[in-house]
Amino acid sequence: MRALVTITRRPEIADPEGATIQRALVDLGYGDVDGVRVNRTIEVSLPGRDQEYVLSAVRAMCEKMLANPVMENYEIEILG
């Protein structure tokens, strides 16, 4: 089973890369774009494990290493 972890910057922390992309999108004619955030995804594969195990293991991985709560939040999605 695979899990997709999406790491996002905490909303109060500026995302200069996202802001730069947003300005370029506006220049391209997408003037109604009012926010761009650049996130990171990590795919974790745990063969032969059930969903409950994968969710709990990947959550522990996020808490220990994959995400830093000082600057980031995370979400976990089971890919099946």
């Binding site: 910057r9 500026a14 730069t20 290493m65 830093n68 600057m71």
Partner: protein, 225 residues
């Protein structure tokens, strides 16, 4: 009194740091990140570079290197632990210092001398300095933008202009509160983004780094047995 210089794969300032401390008369020992013991070491420095490729986040992998358990033990004993640049990032990831470091405000790698003002002498980094003193030290980083994350922080150095005045223009990387260096509550663990080891001889353009490194050396002897 021996200073352990911790080297991770991708660390690249370990020889500069050894050179600088030896120039001040201190003994140094290179310590590979797979070591699990720091016996005979009185204090450690985590030098700059790109530990473990800076993958995931700067310092995020290095903080799990085997040697870090021994570094944490040394820190808990009150021994001096200093992180310079990437080493500062590792100490934040390890939770030995509060806050964290993200990409510079302008998304540019910064490599130039900057001015920092001493905020407090109460740490192994600043004990030989006087509050308000302005030092010129090179900065060399992309992820040098310090954020507190809401944590209480003991600030040791702030970015200012040459006169010691805070301003947005004098804050090179957008750090919260123009913070350039912090310490833990006890003052025995400290981290800074600029490189004091690159400001110790006249040909380097500044010798102001000596004050900070001398503070560290003096702290080696001040620890209670």
């Amino acid at each position: 009194m021996s200073i352990g210089i911790i080297t991770f794969p991708g660390t690249n300032c370990e020889r500069d740091v050894a050179y600088a401390f030896e120039a001040l008369g201190a003994d140094t020992e290179q310590v590979w990140h797979r070591e699990t013991s720091l016996d005979g070491i009185d204090g450690v420095v985590l030098p700059g570079g790109f530990a473990h490729g800076d993958y995931l986040r700067t310092g995020a992998i290095a903080r799990f290197s085997p040697v870090m358990a021994a570094v944490e033990k040394l820190a808990a004993e009150g021994r001096p632990v200093l992180g310079i640049c990437n080493g500062f990032q590792v100490l934040c990831e390890a939770g030995l210092l509060p806050g964290g470091l993200i990409a510079n405000r302008d998304l540019r790698f910064i490599c130039r001398p900057v001015h920092v003002r001493v905020q407090s002498p109460d740490s192994i980094l600043t004990r030989a300095a006087r509050p308000g003193q302005v030092l010129t030290i090179p900065l060399n980083s992309y992820e040098g933008n310090y954020i507190t994350g809401g944590d209480a922080v003991r600030v040791m150095l702030r970015y200012t202009d040459a006169a010691g005045t805070l301003s947005d223009a004098a804050n090179p990387n957008g750090s919260e509160g123009a913070i350039a260096a912090v310490a833990n509550t006890a003052g025995n663990v400290a981290g800074l983004m600029p490189h004091p080891e690159r400001a110790i001889e006249d040909f380097m353009g500044s010798t102001d780094g000596r004050i900070l490194l001398e503070s560290f050396v003096a702290s080696l002897e001040a620890v209670p047995a």
